[in-house]
């Protein structure tokens, strides 16, 4: 294969900076020969998923040869019952990640502008460059999405605004009231994507009830996922809720069988076990309080998290990350002066705190 490849790809492609996933447990086990590794890096759920999930998998073998239901009718019906919105307002994706990409694909052209807070979920900026659009990151205020400032940055070129609520990586939230004020002020031609990947963990009631906004704002889409509180990151299912016209167009651009059958089945079972979800949320709230208070005692300030992770501003973030790796603990360095730590089980959370104390 000595002939060079000369087919011209779209010019945007060369400008995309790929997403860098966190370190995997396996990598670390192999590198240092650890038996146990604690991964608090990717906001995964330490309790995993409902016990009913495994049962449904064992029953599913005979249908594996068939294509999944491309319309995901059963899961969308369950979601519809629970969220009290019509089935036609719901779309299911191969993770909410896929839905972010599809929304961008559906709307963005070269030269368009995409506005979001920073730091936030890196995929917003990646999808902007994927379609030749200009990413406009707007600095957070007090670690929180500053919707006023976002508004100031909106121009006639702005096509999409991403609001991550709670925000990854800071864990902070803005209230539904503030979001509504924002929606009132911006043009209904601009799509507002409210990414609620961590919404199940939110305690503050004022931020949880955003679905009612959909009745008044046709340019709003809410994204959620089964990867976090439902403990199914490995299976890849997320969903979006929006106006039927937006959903039906999204349905056109997704692949005909975008979500695998085992993911659809397990998500449905997980959704129907709200008792298990309560346990997950309960543990998370306890561990989040534990982390926050202990870090505070170490003299570190941690923004108030409504999520399943905390954000710590600290010098030499990458060195701390490396040192923790050597102890078999994976966390996520965000910038050179900040790290993000996911809540674990009590034992995992304590192990992290103990090692972290020694290191700093």
């Amino acid at each position: 294969m000595t002939t060079p490849f000369e087919v011209p790809l779209r010019s945007e492609i060369s400008r995309i900076v790929s997403y860098i996933p966190g370190t995997q447990i396996k990598d670390l086990k192999e590198k240092f020969n650890f038996e146990h590794v604690i991964k608090l890096a990717s906001n995964e759920n330490p309790l995993g998923s409902s016990p009913n999930v495994k049962k449904i998998l064992n029953k599913s073998f005979s249908d594996i040869r068939l294509y999944p239901d491309g319309e995901a009718k059963a899961l969308r019906t369950s979601l519809s019952d629970q969220l009290k919105v019509n089935v036609n307002n719901i779309i299911v994706g191969n993770g909410s990640n896929e839905l972010i990409v599809l929304l961008a694909l559906m709307i963005l052209k070269p030269g368009d502008q995409v506005v979001f807070g920073s730091p936030s979920f890196p995929v917003y900026s990646i999808v902007s460059s994927m379609f030749g659009s200009i990413a406009k990151p707007v600095a957070l205020t007090n670690y929180t999405f500053d919707l006023e400032k976002l508004l100031d940055n909106i121009t006639s070129k702005t096509k999409i605004v991403f609001i991550c609520n709670p925000n990854n990586p800071t864990g902070t939230i803005v209230s539904a009231i503030k979001i509504e004020e924002f929606l009132k002020k911006i043009s209904s031609k601009i799509l507002v994507v409210l990414d609620e990947a961590y919404v199940e963990y939110v305690q503050d009631q004022a931020c949880k009830d955003t679905i009612q906004l959909l009745h008044r704002y046709s340019n709003l889409v809410i994204l959620r996922t089964f990867s976090k509180a439902y403990g199914l990151a490995g299976l890849r299912v997320g969903y979006g809720i929006a106006h039927v016209d937006l959903i039906s167009n999204l349905q056109k651009v997704r692949q005909p069988f975008n979500v695998n059958f085992l993911a659809l089945k397990t998500a449905e079972v997980a959704l129907n076990d709200q008792k298990f979800l309560k346990q997950v949320i309960h543990l998370n709230t306890r561990m989040r309080t534990l982390l926050t208070s202990q870090l505070y005692n170490m003299g570190l300030s941690v923004p108030k998290s409504e999520s399943n992770f905390v954000y710590i501003e600290i010098k030499d973030a990458y060195k701390i990350y490396e040192k923790l790796l050597k102890k078999g603990i994976i966390i996520r360095p965000i910038q050179k002066n900040s790290i993000r730590v996911t809540t674990g089980t009590e034992t995992q959370t304590m192990s992290f705190l103990n090692q972290f104390k020694k290191i700093i």
């Binding site: 294969m1 060079p4 490849f5 000369e6 087919v7 011209p8 790809l9 779209r10 492609i13 996933p21 966190g22 995997q24 396996k26 991964k39 990717s42 995964e44 759920n45 309790l47 995993g48 998923s49 495994k54 998998l57 064992n58 073998f61 005979s62 249908d63 594996i64 040869r65 068939l66 294509y67 999944p68 239901d69 491309g70 191969n94 990640n97 896929e98 559906m106 995929v123 031609k189 009745h215 704002y217 046709s218 990867s227 403990g231 199914l232 990151a233 490995g234 299976l235 890849r236 106006h243 039927v244 937006l246 167009n249 651009v253 692949q255 005909p256 069988f257 695998n260 085992l262 993911a263």
Partner: protein, 357 residues
């Protein structure tokens, strides 16, 4: 909900495009489903074992972004360098990545006028100009009518919905001469002896697309892959979603690619191929015109095709009918198990007998 005006923000292409229409997925239990080219046999026993043994611990974690183990395994089986392999959420996802990475407004893609119906959908999604190249009376692609300048050319080997393979010589000559990227979609190639994988080594602009949905009986888990030149794969990786292939899919895929599973699959393929011979012959005896197929389906022409399709459905037998001009007298039948094929043939015979009266 409030009245929306989608035209305000959607790209015109999206508003105007026709969506892909998948075959029906009937929900009743007792149907004979021969409409979406699925495999009548269960996946290999090792896949079942892997499903039973799959640990819940794995489910809560994100999958490896690059399924290295699978890529290693594929590399071994196909004697292909690891950096020349990309794995996707079904080969559909890989198609979508390729179209997205190559096409845009002002560029063109060409494919046979009869082929996999997702290609035109993906082309319009990416604003590309579509050039349909006509199949002749023997369903051969007229390569002399293919442009050598098209940014992307794609066809099936075998090509659906007929199931024939185009002339090797013509295909190869085109790969050598074109300046664009060529994707040879080998979704059904395991049911033939016609694979042209070697060309992707010879020509850096050729990609070979494969899936585990058909010959491996794994349509539900969504697993496909593409073999090509590392420099092309490197570019495609940039448009890949970070966690595109489910961890369970990766695990079951590994089980399906173990040596004993490959032996099992080979046997099921043999069964399907001998059923294809029988089905083709008997359908011809019933008056259908059936072009020779090298895939796990046959396209059967009959003046009463649409009637047959509707009547079969009443008998709970699902085959595929395409509303295109050239196929209005045809049904596409997936090769089923011997018993399913028997029931299909019996039903067809009844339907045609009654309609003659």
């Amino acid at each position: 909900m409030k009245k929306s005006q989608p035209q305000l923000y959607f790209r015109p292409t999206i508003l105007e495009m026709d969506p892909y229409i998948p075959g029906e997925q009937p929900s009743t239990a007792n149907v004979i489903k021969l409409n979406t080219n699925e495999n009548p046999y269960l996946p290999a026993p090792l896949v079942f074992k892997a499903l039973q043994q799959y640990s819940k611990e794995r489910m809560r974690l994100y999958p490896p972004s690059q399924p290295i183990k699978l890529i290693q395994r594929l590399s071994r089986i196909y004697h292909w360098p690891m950096d020349g392999i990309l794995v996707g959420n079904g080969s559909d996802e890989i198609l979508s990545m390729i179209f997205q990475a190559v096409l845009e407004k002002g560029r063109s893609v060409q494919f046979p006028n009869l082929t996999y119906s997702l290609y035109p959908v993906l082309a319009s999604l990416n604003n590309a100009e579509i050039k349909k190249v006509y199949l002749d009376n023997n369903f051969e692609l007229l390569f002399n009518q293919c442009s050598l300048k098209s940014h992307l050319t794609i066809w099936g080997n075998p090509n659906p919905p007929i199931g024939n393979c185009f002339s090797t010589e013509d295909m190869k000559k085109f790969c050598r001469q074109t300046q664009g990227l060529v994707v040879i979609d080998e979704a059904y190639v395991d049911f033939s002896n016609a694979s042209v994988i070697a060309w992707a080594r010879q020509f850096p602009n050729v990609l070979i697309l494969r899936t585990l949905s058909k010959s491996f009986s794994l349509a539900s888990i969504r697993l496909g892959f593409v073999l090509g030149n590392a420099s092309v794969i490197h570019q495609l990786l940039k448009v890949k979603n970070s966690y595109n292939v489910s961890d369970l899919t990766q695990t079951l895929g590994m089980a399906a690619l173990q040596p004993s599973s490959l032996t099992y699959v080979k046997k099921t393929i043999q069964n399907i191929c001998s059923e294809r011979v029988r089905l083709t012959e008997q359908l011809r005896n019933q008056g259908f015109d059936v072009p020779a197929s090298q895939a796990n389906f046959v396209l059967a022409f009959h003046p009463q095709a649409q009637l047959v399709y509707n009547e079969l459905k009443k008998n709970n037998i699902f085959v595929r009918y395409f509303p295109y001009d050239r196929l209005k007298n045809a049904i596409r039948i997936t090769i089923g198990s011997p018993n399913q094929n028997h029931q299909l043939l019996k039903a067809c015979q009844e339907i045609l007998k009654i309609s003659k009266k």
